[in-house]
Subunit: 220 residues, 2 copies
DNA sequence: ACCTGAACACCGTTCAAGT
DNA sequence: ACCTGAACACCGTTCAAGT
């Protein structure tokens, strides 16, 4: 039996590891073939053997994130409760990569974990009384809302650079603080919550509840 | 009375016009100082007199879009019905710029039309029984969901390039068509709706109904 | 099959200088 | 105040060539 010596110098999976790390820290725009090539001691052009173009690399990042979704086992709870848990599992995986959550959207109906999630969501929605085509529309919208819940997470933003985060908060406080309480009484009195929600868990709880409540309400 | 001759060669408002046109056609990434400078017969550096940096220019685009929001007059309908109309007005303005809708988010609590929208939304939410801090959280989430509704509008995408759009649809059809109906019975049977919703108006109607139904449901 | 070298056509932004 | 010129430090991607 011959153990094949690994002859390839470049491991695409490790390139995606690096890309994911850069994107988490500095955002997807900071990911570049040239930087990745330098990190892996190859020419930028070497990457084109493994990724068609930059979009292809970003798609691989999306797939990586989706691979972390851990679907809950079906049980005998009500469809809406199970849907809540299913969507929570999706959000949990995305929360690890707040700046990258939207890379999953174009991969959901392509990557296997995304397909499993979608199929299960459609099962629960049809169980809840939706026609399959309506379930598709509602499910898509739910996924989109939850992705944007994560991408716009006000607490996670710029977490890599705490002083940039502080500066951004200070700017927001200053701008809302300058508003006239007569013209904008509710905005000024809700300024705290508008600038940054008190608790991150509560932020996600409200977001998920809102999505599931919408689905429940639409069916009626 | 002296009519001041306009001495400035560069009108920042016209630069934003051009930037908006480019961004609508080719996406925000295609907007560049160099391209805009060429279009306005100046050096790229001339733009830095009028815009701090590229982010500042994109913020101006966000403000432009928000300026098109036409708020409905308050009336004596129920709070949730009025909220539906308010949010519809927001979505209507965004729909004119599907690829740019998310540039409005960071400008909502800064640009005047965004503040007016936010204040009115908070009014209706508190009228509906939300505490002001909860209203803030719920309102933010609603705005985010609706922005993502527009940015991911499956019908508007790549509308500038109809054959790219066709190619993308074909790719999606092929990829869903290759799935096993045994493993993914619901996805395959909903393939049509998943690839592209039948009607654009219905797409937006469902999206808006879902958001308002969620808010109504959360209050209870 | 996998990688390199050189080149093309772009970017945002800084700095010093002109009027 | 407003604009220019030259430069710096980047990009993605193509093409032809090497092993």
């Amino acid at each position: 039996m011959i153990i094949k010596e690994t002859s390839r110098r470049l491991d695409p999976e490790k390139v995606v590891d690096s890309a994911l790390a850069i994107a988490d820290d500095e955002g997807p725009a900071a990911v570049s073939f040239r930087k990745l090539a330098a990190q892996h001691d190859v020419t930028p052009m070497a990457l084109y053997r493994h990724f068609k173009d930059k979009d292809d690399l970003l798609a691989a990042i999306g797939d990586r994130i989706l691979a972390d979704v851990v679907l809950p086992e079906p049980n005998d709870e009500r469809w809406d409760k199970q849907l809540h848990k299913l969507l929570t599992a999706f959000v949990t995986a995305l929360r690890a990569h707040p700046r990258l959550a939207d890379m999953t959207l174009p991969r959901i109906l392509i990557a296997e974990p995304g397909l499993a999630l979608a199929e299960r969501a459609l099962e629960l929605l049809t169980e809840g009384g939706f026609a399959v085509d309506d379930a598709a529309e509602v499910g898509r919208q739910a996924i989109c809302s939850l992705i944007s819940l994560v991408t716009t997470d006000p607490i996670a933003r710029e977490v890599s650079d705490p002083e940039a985060r502080e500066a951004s908060l200070r700017r927001k406080r200053a701008s809302l603080g300058a508003l006239s309480p007569d013209r904008y009484p509710l905005i000024t009195s809700a300024a705290g919550a508008l600038i940054c929600p008190e608790s991150r868990d509560r932020y996600y709880e409200i977001g998920l509840d809102l999505v599931v409540a919408g689905i429940r309400g639409l069916r009626a």
